[in-house]
């Protein structure tokens, strides 16, 4: 009996949190209007959420591309298909690895920082202080961060993919001797703008929305103590990562399934 009671309480609590998260999302969307008049708020957050994540995305993209080039070459060369290396690297990056890995890196770097920052603002009564100054923190503090995340992730995914292709070329063309023309022509012929690039952009938009939403909600809803902020930060990374991987499967099935 006790088990059922606990299970019921857990489900009710989860539904309650889900409801609060959706109300927060609606409120942040309403807050977008404010930013038309105060673009400075958005620019500041684009810097801290987006620009400061470029370095980790650049380095990761380069190395992932190099590994793809290396592994792809070893497998393709068994069948004499080295010329398809460019297509393989680009398709893997644009369709899957670019959006997914960028979102995971974003959740680890910017998402955790967002949760910790908002959680600490709550713990130090800064959010309460804003409310008492008749300033809605959901519009003033949360909405610019949300929009910045939404804009940043697709751009970061594009940087990741470009650097990944460059890394694949450095290994394939520069070190392993794959023909330059075949590498680039194969990529141009095989990559479809609508099927591959646009779908990749849609994926990264969805991942950006989900990761930033989770990060902001966890910070805003955390228990305002040092332990509460720490737990919320961990939850942000875990929930975001699982959500990205799960959504990637769903989106891939919808976009590329027969």
């Amino acid at each position: 009996m006790r088990l059922f009671a606990d299970l019921g309480a857990w489900v009710l609590n989860a539904l309650h949190r889900l409801g609060r998260a959706h109300l927060l999302l609606l409120s942040m969307l309403r807050g977008f209007v404010d930013m038309l008049y105060r673009p400075r708020l958005l620019l500041d957050q684009l810097f801290s959420v987006g620009v400061l994540t470029i370095l980790i995305v650049t380095v990761a993209g380069l190395f992932v591309g190099m590994v793809l080039g290396l592994q792809g070459y070893y497998i393709l060369s068994r069948f004499g298909g080295e010329t398809a290396l460019g297509l393989m690297v680009a398709a893997s990056l644009v369709r899957e690895l670019g959006p997914v890995l960028t979102a995971l890196l974003f959740a680890g770097r910017a998402g955790s920082a967002l949760t910790a920052e908002i959680g600490l603002m709550k713990a130090t009564e800064q959010l309460s202080g804003l409310e008492m100054m008749a300033v809605n923190p959901q519009y003033r503090v949360l909405a610019p961060r949300f929009l910045a995340g939404l804009i940043s992730v697709p751009l970061l995914a594009a940087i990741f993919s470009v650097l990944g292709v460059a890394g694949g070329w450095v290994v394939g063309g520069g070190m392993l001797g794959v023909d330059e023309a075949a590498f680039w022509n194969g990529m141009q012929d095989g990559i479809d703008f609508e099927d591959d690039v646009i779908n990749g952009v849609i994926k990264s938009l969805v991942f950006g929305l989900v990761c930033t939403w989770i990060a902001i909600f966890q910070g805003y809803d955390c228990v305002p103590t040092s332990e509460g902020v720490s737990r919320a930060t961990t939850r942000t990374v875990v929930h975001s990562s699982l959500a990205v991987l799960g959504l990637d499967f769903v989106l891939t099935a919808l976009m590329f399934g027969e």
Binding site: T124, E125, Q126, S128, G129, E131, M132, A134
Partner: protein, 300 residues
């Protein structure tokens, strides 16, 4: 330290700004009620889980004075301020501020009412990514269309009033606890509110900072003709500046009256609290089973 000159200047400026109608508030928000009671709390009930923090609380906070709300830690003093400010919603009862039922207001009207309330949080609640100047300027930038030069003058005057004009370029992390509270006080008076709520303003302060805050609260109240609610358990300091005081415990008002009446109260509970006696109606021991039984594990 001379506080009265900058405070008088602020009072003059506040009057001018109210007349200039800078905040564009609707007329119903600008009309004060004829009532002398600024905050009227009736039958307040507020629960945290199964525990009643307040159960039938009635309090009147008069206009124009310093009202102290005292009680031991955990009695819900901070919660009461959050209820007055509309940050928490009561389970029953009403809270009227300047004739308006706080919890019946729409969000827009609640925010308009909050523009006329200032609150000094226990931690100061300064925005840590902004300098002292920007913190004090924040409410002015958010709610007015004043020119930069006017904002600068106002901010420097507010900081002068709390003795920290020279610290305007510092960041909150460079301030001591007492300085942070004074900056927060300057920010709380930035919009020339009709009332200021102080949440434990003296906690953790050294004697000098405490003396400064005590003097500031009283002089600010008189010079700017506002109303102050001071929530505290520092009895001597609070009663030294309070015109009226309430002692609350167990979710209800134990006693209310002037500071003098409370200091000479015949009530056992109030006497224990005001004089800081270790035992009395509030027992020294937390409820526990018999000591002998506990030590022997119930063997005897």
């Amino acid at each position: 330290m001379t506080l009265s000159r900058p405070l008088r200047r602020i009072a003059r400026l506040a009057t001018w700004r109210r007349n200039a109608d800078l905040f564009l508030l609707p007329m119903d928000n600008q009309q004060a009620t004829a009532d002398d009671v600024l905050v009227k709390i009736r039958g307040l009930r507020f629960m945290r889980g199964q525990r009643a923090i307040f159960d039938g609380l009635d309090i009147d906070i008069p206009r124009g004075g310093v009202t102290a709300i005292m009680g031991p830690s955990g009695t819900g003093k901070t919660t009461l301020l959050k209820l007055i400010g509309g940050q928490l919603r009561p389970d029953a009862g009403t809270i009227e501020v300047d004739g308006q039922d706080v919890h019946a207001l729409s969000t827009d009207h609640l925010y308009q009412l909050r523009m006329r309330m200032g609150m000094l949080f226990q931690s100061g609640a300064l925005l840590t990514d902004m300098s002292v100047f920007e913190n004090v300027a924040f409410p002015l930038r958010e709610h007015t269309k004043l020119s930069e030069s006017m904002i600068r003058k106002l901010v420097l005057l507010k900081l002068e009033a709390v003795g920290l004009r020279g610290a305007h370029s510092l960041m909150p992390s460079e301030l001591s606890g007492g300085m942070a509270r004074r900056v927060a006080l300057a920010r709380a008076i930035a919009l020339d509110p009709m009332m200021i709520m102080y949440d434990e303003p003296f906690t953790g302060q050294d004697p000098i900072s405490m003396g400064v805050l005590v003097k500031l609260i009283r002089e600010l109240n008189d010079a700017a003709r506002i109303s102050s609610i001071v929530v505290s358990h520092d009895v001597a300091e609070t009663l030294s500046i309070a015109d009226h005081a309430y002692v609350i415990s167990g979710g209800k008002v134990v006693e209310g009256g002037t500071a003098e009446q409370l200091q000479h109260s015949g009530g056992a509970w109030t006497r224990q609290f005001v004089q800081g006696l270790p035992d009395g109606p509030v027992p020294f021991h937390f409820p526990a089973p018999d000591l002998r039984e506990d030590l022997t594990g119930g063997a005897s």
